[in-house]
């Protein structure tokens, strides 16, 4: 059976071109870039190229790029590192809908004497910037707000937020793991101080990511040891990963516009048709300000895990914010923060597309989905005819 992969916000296929660049770095060019000999030392050039490509995609300088082990490390390093550099301030502002990598890191700070403010969102998943402005004060060490939400795809007005926050002399970090490669970003024209991204969300390999640190931003190193990454992130470089990520950034920059038109039109076709054909369905999140690849749809009175398993039988991969799929007994914290009622929070399905998806796959899903919803609604004691 063919796999239809609509779970690209979870992870993506490594692009063939990326894999090609990585291949020789395992068994042939396996040296350590820190070595004095040419065999190892020549890899420094490859890392430099990767850094330049990443900088090009983000619109920043290569020296502002630190390679890490992924999004979670970048988030932790940004949060903990910037607080360590501002020991006199004890307040952190974030949102209720952050990825756990940020939310858990912030909540842990409460055990170390910090006050953490979690901004709420409205029913569409939007922030109230006036609330943020009101909370900013001289004791605020850091504001960390995601660029785009992983579950709903809702994009926050990050450039505007960054300007407001840094204007008050406060450091601003954004988890841009879901945004990079999907929407255009230009750090040269933004006031963002710190930005996290992850390789495997943009057709690069797993286990590698980037922390962008604006020149002049004070950041205590998160990992200490060797002198790699100019002493800002110790540990022998993940050479294949870094080179692969560099290539993935290059491809993302090339394909951004054209492919997003294609991905967006596929997403819209899938979304609009499902909303029309499936009774009791509703879209979660701000329809306008949204990633072009993400669609989060709730199906009332039925449960997400059951939907996923039925889709799985047809080889269709998606994800759900239901309690049963989250490993806890409560549904998605993002949907709950948005005030999505329990009647539909348990039955939410996220489709996230990529440039490798085709119209045939969308048509196939449109054909399979309505009977699944129909079948589960017939099983549900809450659906009355």
């Amino acid at each position: 059976m063919k796999t239809v992969y609509f779970d690209n916000n979870a992870t993506t296929k490594v692009a063939d071109e990326v894999l090609e660049e990585m291949k020789p770095l395992f068994c042939e060019l396996y040296g350590n870039p820190s070595s004095m000999h040419t065999f190892g030392g020549q890899l420094g050039r490859k890392i430099r190229r990767a850094r330049e490509k990443a900088a090009e995609l983000l619109g920043c300088e290569p020296v502002e790029i630190i390679f890490t082990s992924g999004g979670t490390e970048s988030d932790n390093a940004a949060i903990k590192g910037s607080l360590a550099s501002a020991p006199d301030k004890h307040k952190v502002i974030t949102t209720r809908v952050e990825h756990p990598a940020v939310l858990a890191a912030c909540r842990d700070l409460e055990n170390h004497g910090y006050t953490v403010i979690e901004l709420s969102v409205d029913r569409e998943g939007r922030l109230d910037l006036a609330e943020l402005e009101e909370k900013l004060d001289d004791d605020t060490a850091l504001v960390t707000i995601m660029y785009a939400n992983n579950e709903t795809g809702v994009i926050f007005p990050i450039d505007k937020i960054a300007e407001m926050v840094t204007g008050r002399g406060v450091v601003f970090h954004t988890d841009a793991v879901q945004a990079v490669g999907k929407i255009p970003l230009n750090l040269a024209k933004s006031s963002i101080d710190l930005l996290s991204l992850s390789g495997h969300k943009l057709h690069g390999p797993k286990g590698v990511g980037i922390l962008y640190v604006r020149k002049g931003t004070r950041l205590a190193p998160f990992m200490v040891g060797g002198h790699q990454e100019a002493g800002r992130r110790a540990g022998t470089e993940n050479v294949p990963g870094i080179v692969g990520l560099g290539k993935a950034c290059e491809l993302a920059a090339q394909n951004l516009e054209e492919e997003n038109d294609k991905v967006k039109s596929l997403r819209d076709k899938l979304e609009n048709t499902l909303l029309k054909m499936c009774p009791g369905s509703r879209l979660n999140g701000d329809r306008e300000n949204r990633l072009p690849n993400t669609s989060n749809i709730s199906f009332e009175y039925i449960e997400g895990e059951a939907i996923l398993l039925m889709l799985d039988k047809f080889g269709i991969c998606a994800s759900s914010g239901s309690a049963c799929t989250s490993g806890s007994l409560e549904p998605s914290h993002v949907l709950r923060a948005m005030g999505v009622p329990f009647t539909s929070a348990h039955g939410s399905i996220r489709f996230s597309l990529s440039r490798y998806n085709t119209e045939a796959e969308v048509d196939y899903t449109i054909e399979k989905m309505p009977p699944i919803i129909q079948k589960l609604r017939e099983l549900s004691p809450f659906v009355t005819k």
Binding site: R96, R107, E110, N111, T115, I117, E118, S120, K135, Y301, I302, E303, G304, E305, A306, L309, M310, K313, S322, A323, C324, G327, S328, L329, E330, P331, F342, T343, H346, E378, L379, S380, P381, F382
Partner: protein
């Protein structure tokens, strides 16, 4: 991805006896939308008092649907006395086992069956009601129900109890109480535990005590309040009086007083000292709160 058996997948993809029996003799409804699963069981008896037809409707995950399907298969042809003997374990065994975290689905099946039989015996009047004191407010689970799953399945930890009946899986505020129920059933004397606790903390210096209070708040109390969008701050300690302030949702919560005694004070007594009592900081209560929705 859950590890489901082939039997379970079969009953999920091809559920037996879906629907509602016409003019049923018994109706059992358990669960709710908020909980994430719910089951409506209907049955009809033949002239000999055997279950002639049983049908179900279920809102829930694959294992909730599969266990409901199995339940109807298991009770068909049985007298009510025979059917009443079906346990959650019978349902799980029929499917070749369930993942630990899904055991509550089999318990929901057994509960629906009991509710339906009860409904029949009361002449169709009685609806399922919670019996006994509610321990877990998040999922509405009573002491009777918790005792029963512990006894029937030989459970020994709070985590297992959560897997079997969801109790303790929401805010976590009742986990201490569930532990006590487990202890009670195990036959261990609670007094011994309390004595041990007092012994452990008998020689605390003031600094050690404050440190332990802060640690207990960080590790035991805050995560529970956090789950409901609330928070807590330690303001001061005067002798055995611990002064705290509620933040976030807790500050406006109608159950705050209950939380103060049953969660905060109980945890501090359990982990620090039996002599502690808690007071809310009046001054900070009048201040505007963060985290307002």
């Amino acid at each position: 991805m859950w590890e489901y058996t082939d039997e379970l997948k079969d009953h999920f993809f091809n559920p037996r006896n879906v629907g509602e029996v016409e003019n049923p003799d018994g109706v059992g409804e358990v669960g709710s939308l908020a909980c994430g699963d719910a089951l409506k069981l209907t049955f009809k008896l033949d002239e000999n008092g055997r279950i002639k037809d049983a049908q179900f409707k279920t809102f829930g995950c694959a294992s909730a649907i599969a266990t409901s399907s199995v339940l109807t298969e298991l009770i068909k042809g049985k007298t009510l006395e025979e059917a009443a003997k079906v346990t959650n374990k019978d349902i799980a065994d029929y499917l070749g086992g369930l993942p630990e975290q899904k055991m509550h689905c089999s318990v929901m099946g057994r509960e629906a069956l009991e509710a339906a039989i009860e409904n029949y015996r009361s002449g169709g009047k009685k609806k399922h009601e919670l019996e006994g004191r509610v321990v877990c407010n998040c999922f509405g689970v009573t002491e009777n129900e918790i005792e029963r799953v512990i006894k029937e399945n030989n459970l020994t930890t709070v985590e297992e109890v959560t897997n079997y009946c969801k109790a303790g899986g929401g805010c976590g505020g009742c986990q201490g109480e569930i532990e006590k129920i487990i202890e009670k059933i195990k036959g261990d004397k609670i007094q011994e535990l309390t004595a041990a606790a007092t012994r452990r903390t008998g020689k605390l210096t003031n600094i050690q005590k404050i440190h332990l209070i802060q640690q207990t708040i960080n590790e035991q109390i805050r995560p529970a309040l956090r789950a409901h969008g609330g928070n807590i701050e330690l303001i001061d300690v005067e002798g055995d009086k611990v002064i705290v302030a509620f933040r976030g949702m807790c500050a406006q919560c109608m159950l705050a007083e209950y939380t103060m005694k049953d969660v905060v004070e109980a945890k501090l007594r359990e982990f620090v000292s039996e002599d502690l009592f808690v007071e809310e900081d009046k001054e900070s209560a009048s201040q505007p709160h963060e985290h307002r929705e």
